[in-house]
Amino acid sequence: MTPLDVPAIDAGALAAASARLLTAAAAEADVVYCELDSPLGPIVAAATADGLARLAYREFNGGLDAILGALAIKLSPRIVEAPARMDTIRRELDEYFAGRRRSFDIPVDLGLAAPFGRAVLQACVRIPFGDTSNYAAVAAEAGRPRASRAAGNALGANPVPIVVPCHRVLRTGGGLGGYTGGSAVKERLLALEGVLR
């Protein structure tokens, strides 16, 4: 009698096959993502065919699995890690943190935002580097002057912080206001842009 054992795995062959599979899968997936290092800590970036759909401060959002899990529910479970497909956002963020970029050119997909939220985020993009606004002004820009609380909620739910610069929107009275990465991160972004010392 000969034993019929489970076939052994050639780790090198499986690793090479996995890399090829992920490259092919990334071309068909609905969402591709990568993890990035930044001076503000690790960031998860995810994109659809239409553009950058998510930038998430990893720790502030409960870790990679929580972030991917939310994307699976809200966008599609066909999510594949594809660092090679995320070169543009990596480069633009590097330039921004190095002080060599004041606005972002990468296409953005606001599919994760609700309709009014989208209008608020589009108004927010128009606030230039080094400047600030407040929730009431952004609400008015988005077409609902009395909806400053809803505008604040939409900014708090900004799926692509930094690129859509919600950190430039402060409380109407002049206070800092909340931030999707925590108020310490908001302060650091405003300091980078020369608004705060």
Binding site: P3, A29, I73
Partner: protein
């Protein structure tokens, strides 16, 4: 639903083992790629509550069957054998008991491979093959007996 990336990471090792057993190390990657690309396409339609292993192994089994059929078509019988030197196309890569399993009748081969390389239960093997659990159990048993193979605990 688990992001596909995590699903792939959880299942790539057992699927790889299955592919190596089902079609041999030389062709394992082709079947592996076809299996996971088909899984990616069907992924959002997978019914929750069903076993993820049974689902992916059923796809792998179908892809392995496609491979066997394509190989059989390529090996058409000819009336007069051409006088060329014969090269074994898959040398030592394909030694071992799983190469012998691949010489069995399709049902026995499939039952053995899904049960002992893919590590499905007999009930899951039965569902993948569209037969009764008893028939799956019997096919695996007969396959082992034919080849004088035994399962080590």
């Amino acid at each position: 639903m688990l992001p596909f990336q995590r699903f792939f990471e959880q299942h790539r090792e057992p699927v790889w083992r299955y592919c190596v057993a089902a079609v041999g190390a030389l062709h394992a990657e082709d079947v592996f790629q076809e299996t996971f690309l088909a899984a990616l396409r069907a992924y959002p339609r997978r019914r929750p509550g069903t076993s993820a292993s049974a689902w992916i192994m059923t796809i792998a089994h179908n892809k392995a069957m496609d491979h066997h059929r394509a190989t059989a078509r390529r090996a058409l019988p000819v009336e007069a054998l051409p006088e060329v030197a014969h090269h074994d196309p898959e040398p030592e890569l394909d030694a071992g008991p799983w190469a012998r399993v691949r010489t069995l009748a399709p049902k026995q081969r499939a039952a053995l491979t899904l049960r002992y390389a893919a590590d499905l239960t007999h009930a899951e093997v039965a569902r993948a093959l569209g037969c009764s659990e008893e028939a799956a159990r019997r096919s695996a048993h007969e396959g082992l007996k034919t080849l004088r193979l035994e399962i080590t605990p």
